[in-house]
């Protein structure tokens, strides 16, 4: 514990170095050492790890997750409870202005993930000017906030930012899968930021600050709130249930499984795009569930559709959630059977999705479902073969519809206080 705490303190000091208003720390009272004490008092593990580690264990809810590292936080990191995900269109045509924005965003992200407000803070500045920070996260803990950036295909378009030669082959445009009913207003984007935190206000605050800093350079294209995690990257934890009441994605890649991460999640220089080494590829899908129809479905059919029992989450014929499934015991169109690596030539993805509910749809039906987020080393070897299989045959298709879709190249981590999001791409 002691080592972890001291690392936390260092991380905080590092994060503060670029800040312009040191007095803010005193005002807020939970920067630096104050935070470490708080974490120790909470008695939980601290979500900080030695430098260079790509593995982050479960942590107490209030702690900070280090922003700097070989990989971006928010992928292998223990999954937080809440999500605010935003996709942006880039409005500026000026490459230098885009680079400046990415640097400004990095600085803001560095501060916010450490639990600090952006710029000169939320109050106490010039009375004639609006405060730099909007203030709703003042006094809240860092809440394991992670901010993860991704670059969409549009950024690499010809005659835009001179990046057409940098587009990774693994960043493919997704095909139209059978049953897709994609809303363009909820799809695509030149940039994305995934904000995950244990406190929803902390996640929303983070996206709000970045959107504000971005005005004129970027415009929010769409955003999605997720209220409950549906996956776990920590195998000792229970797999959370989705909105259908089932545990799904039990065999997720664990944040501690370095071999699996290197094989299935982290891109390598040898994959073809050197700038992506240590990065990953993200597929985001807004999957609406026909909640009311599902709720009227018999328990037997529900269990047949997934290939698990509803109570324990054990695969058909097994007794425990994590027992190795015997696929042939399941119906041929069972979700678990079709999604399993053995049915997809070993394809594995790291799932980090969230349940969402955006109220009701005007017809009195819950507008709810799964905001599916999957990280992989190559979209062509991860999501695409699995989704081809599922979209054709999955029994679940009767109860779900994919209504939004986006794909992003997620660059490697920000190494230190002088580094910035996208440096390897633009440098």
């Amino acid at each position: 514990m002691t080592d972890s705490e001291s690392v936390t303190v260092e991380e905080h000091d590092g994060a503060r170095e670029g800040a312009t208003a040191p007095s803010r720390r005193a005002v807020l009272g939970w920067g630096g050492a104050g935070l470490a004490l708080g974490a120790a008092a909470a008695g939980g593990a601290v979500a900080a790890f030695g430098g260079g580690s790509d593995v982050v264990p479960a942590a107490s809810a209030g702690a900070a997750v280090p922003f700097h590292g070989e990989h971006q936080a928010g992928i292998a990191s223990a999954v937080q409870d809440r999500l605010h995900f935003a996709a942006f269109d880039v409005k500026t045509k000026d490459r230098e202005e885009l680079i400046k924005l990415l640097k400004d965003w990095t600085e803001a992200a560095r501060l916010m993930t450490a639990g600090h407000p952006v710029g000169e803070g939320g109050f106490g500045g010039l009375p004639e000017a609006p405060p730099d920070d909007t203030g709703e996260a003042l006094g809240l803990k860092p809440s394991r906030l992670t901010l993860t950036i991704g670059f969409g295909p549009g950024l690499f378009a010809k005659d835009r930012f001179g990046l057409e030669d940098k587009r990774p082959e693994a960043l493919v445009d997704l095909e139209q899968f059978p049953g897709d009913n994609l809303d363009p207003a909820r799809s695509g984007g030149d940039l994305c930021v995934q904000a995950c935190a244990d406190d929803p206000q902390v996640a929303v605050h983070a996206i709000r600050q970045l959107a504000r800093i971005g005005f004129g350079k970027t415009a929010v294209r769409w955003s999605q709130l997720g209220f409950g995690k549906t996956s776990s990257t920590t195998p000792d934890a229970q797999t959370p249930r989705n909105m259908m009441g089932f545990k799904d994605g039990t065999r997720n890649i664990a944040g501690t499984d370095r071999a699996a991460l290197d094989e299935h999640v982290w891109a390598a220089a040898s994959d073809g795009s050197a700038w992506m080494a240590g990065g990953s590829y993200l597929v985001a899908r807004r999957i609406r569930m026909h909640i009311e129809s599902w709720d009227r479905t018999s328990l037997q059919e529900q269990e047949d559709v997934f290939g698990r029992d509803k109570g324990e989450g054990a695969p058909v014929g097994k007794s425990k959630e994590r027992d190795e499934p015997f696929l042939k015991a399941m119906k041929p169109e069972a979700h678990v059977r079709l999604a399993h690596p053995d049915s997809n030539n070993g394809a594995r993805i790291l799932r980090r999705g969230y349940s969402f509910t955006d109220g009701t749809d005007g017809l009195g039906r819950l507008d709810a479902g799964l905001f599916f987020l999957a990280y992989q080393r190559d979209v062509r070897k991860g999501f695409i073969p699995v989704q081809r299989n599922l979209s054709k045959n999955d029994a679940l298709n009767e109860y779900i519809q994919h209504v939004g879709s986006a794909v992003f190249a997620v660059p490697p981590g920000v190494r230190d206080k002088d580094d910035w999001w996208g440096r390897t791409l633009f440098a």
């Binding site: 269109d89 409005k91 010039l126 009375p127 004639e128 000017a129 609006p130 207003a185 504000r212 005005f215 004129g216 350079k217 415009a219």
Partner: protein, 378 residues
């Protein structure tokens, strides 16, 4: 310090700051020292002294000219301290005012129009607030703009209300949007007269319990939704004339400061974001883009006047605002055939994707514009 807002010299404010009493009061007890004689003619505005002690000051006007005149005491930024209108040829009038230490202008307007003739004076004693000549000039210029917008609005509104009174639905529809232009360009100033906006520019959902719905939007609904003009609408048209005349009369008394100007520009963009981009403002006529344009023009005017100071204090902000004003103008031009005209696409024909594009451009301008006040206050 509270955020700077436009305020009006009301009775309450006058107690704290200054008292302007027009009309023939008893002779000032302060005697000759606190009395200034103004010899007003068709070509001159002579003052008996250019310096006098701060405090209660009596201004004795003698109109020696051949035209009806008016006399103002103004702050250096042209805000009115005290005024007297309708001083006939060969007549005298007395103005008394509580005047704090500082620089002022005595302004005679023979014929009651134009810039008139100006005479600088100084109230001495006490501490006078430090002023920036550059910003005073900007405020004075802006005040001129606001007055000009009110001037132009009178006939434009009358064209509209005449058509309503004549029962000519088509002509009234044509005249509706143009009648709003001057108001929309200077809306934050117009709204600072708290009692006028609710009479002229309120929308149905903005009514308070018991409030009669009057003004532009009530007539808009009659013209576009109900498609008829009755006696009630004709009476409302005349009421609008009266209310607009009241605005015109009072607009010169609005307290304008460099920061209130800058925040007013930002508020104009707020107006656009809240009411125009959403199509709420002109929900029956769908002439939202004409109001949109006028709001942006009003904000642009403020920026143009404050730019010399703002760009000096914050050069990057100047560049950004230049870029974003130009970008928004270009985008708006896509929605009108004639770049010099005000015939914009009916907003119900502007699709979701185009509205998103407009909204993005408004955000892109409004965010840096919110930093203009700080740039002039530095």
């Amino acid at each position: 310090m509270r955020p700077a807002r436009f305020t009006v010299v009301t009775a309450a404010a006058a107690v704290a700051a200054l008292t302007a009493v027009t009309g023939c009061a008893e002779k000032s007890a302060g005697g000759a020292e606190g009395t200034v004689q103004v010899a007003a003619s068709d070509s001159a505005c002579g003052v008996s002294k250019t310096e006098f002690p701060a405090g209660k000051v009596t201004i004795e006007v003698d109109n020696k000219g051949s035209k009806v005149t008016e006399v103002y005491v103004l702050f250096p930024d042209d805000r009115i301290v005290a005024e007297r209108e309708n001083i006939g040829p060969g007549t005298k009038a007395t103005i008394t005012a509580e005047i704090k230490a500082g620089d002022y202008v005595v302004n005679c307007k023979p014929g009651m129009k134009g810039d008139g003739i100006r005479q600088k004076v100084k109230a001495t004693g006490g501490a006078s607030a430090k002023r920036s000549p550059e910003l005073d000039a900007a405020v004075a210029e802006y005040r001129k703009y606001v007055l000009a917008q009110a001037d132009e609005s009178l006939p434009a509104v009358k064209t509209f209300t005449d058509a309503v009174r004549a029962g000519d639905v088509e002509a009234a529809k044509q005249a509706f949007a143009p009648s709003r232009r001057g108001w929309e360009r200077t809306e934050p100033v117009a709204e600072s007269f708290g009692d006028i906006d609710p009479k002229t520019d309120v929308r149905e959902d903005g009514l308070e319990p018991g409030q009669n719905w009057t003004g532009w939007h009530r007539l808009e609904k009659a013209l576009w939704a109900d498609n008829k003009i009755g006696d009630e609408e004709k009476a409302l048209a005349s009421q609008l004339d009266t209310d607009i005349a009241e605005w015109h009369k009072r607009v010169g008394t609005a307290e304008i400061t460099p920061t209130s100007m800058a925040n007013g520009a930002k508020e104009l963009l707020d107006e656009v974001a809240r009411n125009k981009v959403t199509g709420e403002e002109d929900r029956y006529s769908h002439t939202d883009l004409a109001d949109f344009k006028a709001n942006v023009e009003g904000a642009d005017k403020v920026y143009e006047l404050l730019k010399p100071v703002a760009a000096k204090n914050d050069p990057q902000l100047g560049k950004t605002l230049d870029t974003q004003f130009a970008a928004l103008d270009t985008l708006l031009d896509k929605h009108r055939a004639d770049k010099n005209g005000y015939d914009f696409t009916s907003y119900d024909k502007v699709g979701d994707a185009e509205r998103k594009e407009l909204s993005d451009a408004v955000n892109a301008l409004a965010e840096p514009l919110s930093k203009l006040a700080a740039a002039v206050a530095k």
